[in-house]
């Protein structure tokens, strides 16, 4: 096997294999081509890719397919924020003026932290909200409030949620995109999605009355109707023992906040545009 023979044979074999495989691939690619709209990949590029399912589709790829087939409009994806909607509009050549873009965020409705809520047990062993809720293993007497084991923290794709030392979730509005994954994750639905405008909210979910609430939590709503009576615009209605504030009527005067005996009501401030940019 002289050297020349080796060189010729090796190069020949490699050339032959290369050509056979190249033609094989090309031929296969041709006959088995799947007519897929290339637009889907472009849209997928723009979408945030968190596959959070907030838009109701099973993931960004199916949302992209939805948008190309017209089943979904370009602002279905709340999570992406303004930037995604603008890019999608640019890509698809659709006007953005008629789309009013509104930011949504998640707000936890429980103030009963370690120091405020009364405890009647201490829990050892596995600490996740789902298990604690299903097995009724909770330290706090209140069965509506936040269990504090941080399932929502784990699920948030944008890690906007951190547990504060009171054992309650704190959601950073600049990171939160309102995708709602934490709402689904929390077994007691303590967290809810609100539009991100300044408003007054009752930070409590305990729909019981009077003493049942008082010996469970120092800051729970005891349904004393003071806020409903005192509100000058009577924007507050008690719905199953919890105050609901009508955003149109309420002019954020703050009387209800001061007058509330257990300080359950609080004002949700919106980050000013400057702060929002900091994110």
């Amino acid at each position: 096997m002289s050297l020349m023979q080796i060189i010729i044979f090796s190069s020949g074999i490699m050339l032959g294999l290369g050509i056979v495989f190249g033609i094989g691939l090309g031929y296969f690619a041709k006959i088995f081509r799947v007519q897929e709209n290339p637009l889907i990949d472009e849209i997928l590029e723009i979408l945030p890719g968190a596959n959070c399912g907030a838009c109701g589709f099973s993931g960004c790829r199916s949302l992209a397919e939805g948008i190309t087939s017209g089943k979904a409009s370009i602002e279905t994806c709340r999570v992406g924020g303004e930037e995604t909607v603008k890019n999608l509009a640019k890509l698809l050549g659709v006007g953005t003026d008629n789309i009013s873009y509104e930011k949504y965020i998640a707000i936890p409705l429980c103030k009963g932290g370690k120091s405020l809520a009364m405890k009647n047990a201490t829990v050892k062993g596995v600490k996740t909200c789902k298990i604690a809720n299903n097995l009724k293993l909770s330290e706090k007497i209140c069965t509506y409030g936040c269990l504090g084991y941080g399932d929502c923290v784990l699920v948030c794709p944008f890690n906007a949620i951190k547990m504060n030392d009171e054992g309650l979730p704190e959601i950073d509005p600049s990171l939160c995109t309102g995708c709602g994954l934490c709402v689904k994750e929390c077994p007691r639905e303590v967290i809810e999605i609100f539009s991100y405008k300044e408003k007054v909210l009752a930070i409590c979910k305990n729909s019981e009355k009077g003493s049942a609430v008082r010996n469970a939590c120092r800051v729970g709503c005891i349904t004393c109707y003071v806020c409903e009576k005192k509100c000058p615009k009577n924007a507050i209605k008690m719905v199953n023992n919890l105050p609901v504030i009508d955003i149109e009527k309420c002019d954020l005067c703050g009387i209800c906040i001061n007058v509330c005996p257990t300080k359950t009501l609080s004002l949700i401030k919106a980050l000013s545009a400057k702060e929002n940019g900091k994110k």
């Binding site: 290369g18 495989f21 190249g22 691939l25 090309g26 690619a29």
Partner: protein, 204 residues
């Protein structure tokens, strides 16, 4: 120039191929029974990585889409075979020590990863610096694991007795489970080091 240094530094700590992106574990755990083997493997690995990244970024414009993977594989494969032939000819004992892991460099996830993610998009110079950074990152990890395993495993470093003749070595570290343990510890340490500055930044 600034950006090139960044790419180089990036490969060592921030995007260290092994500890952060978790690639190329097969060769690292198997070969790091001694520092000499580890150095040999780094040598082989860097030759193939630098060669492949340069060639691919040279011809990146003319690669048709359907042939992307086969062409990458052929380029990396030829560099690996050249390297293995040179090793067989000039460094036979290293070749015997590394054994099957020499041809396996061609499927080393780092090389395929870097070629696809970096070389096929960036210019030749940037690919060169990236390859150098990545090889150094890879080398640091494999040599450090090799050192730990050799010192604990058979009491020598580069062949010289470390703890004197009557030290009976903890064989555990030479055997496969020891390798898993050592790389687990190493990743934990890196997480600790990297995690600290991040926290400071958030509070600051």
């Amino acid at each position: 120039m600034r950006n090139l240094i960044n790419i180089f530094k990036n490969g060592i700590i921030k995007e260290n191929p092994v500890l952060i992106i978790m690639l190329g574990l097969c060769s690292i755990l198997a070969v790091s029974t001694s520092v000499v083997n580890a150095l040999g493997m780094t040598l082989a690995f860097s030759f193939v990585l630098i060669g492949s990244e340069l060639t691919i970024s040279l011809i990146r414009k003319s690669i048709p889409k359907t042939l992307r993977v086969p062409i990458f594989i052929v380029v990396i494969g030829s560099f690996t075979t050249i390297m293995s032939l040179l090793l067989q000819a000039f460094l036979p004992d290293l070749n015997k020590a590394l054994g099957i892991f020499i041809p396996l460099v061609v499927v080393n996830c780092i090389i395929i990863g870097r070629v696809e993610a970096f070389a096929s998009k960036r210019s030749v110079i940037e690919s060169l610096f990236d390859a150098l950074g990545m090889s150094l990152g890879y080398g640091i990890v494999i040599v450090s694991i090799g050192a730990i395993r050799e010192i604990l495993g058979n009491g020598t470093i580069l062949g010289y007795q470390v703890f004197g003749p009557n030290y009976n070595p903890a064989l555990f570290f030479i055997l496969p489970p020891g390798a898993f343990l050592v790389i687990g510890i190493e990743i934990a340490i890196i997480n600790k080091i990297l995690a600290k500055p991040k926290k400071v930044k958030q509070e600051g």
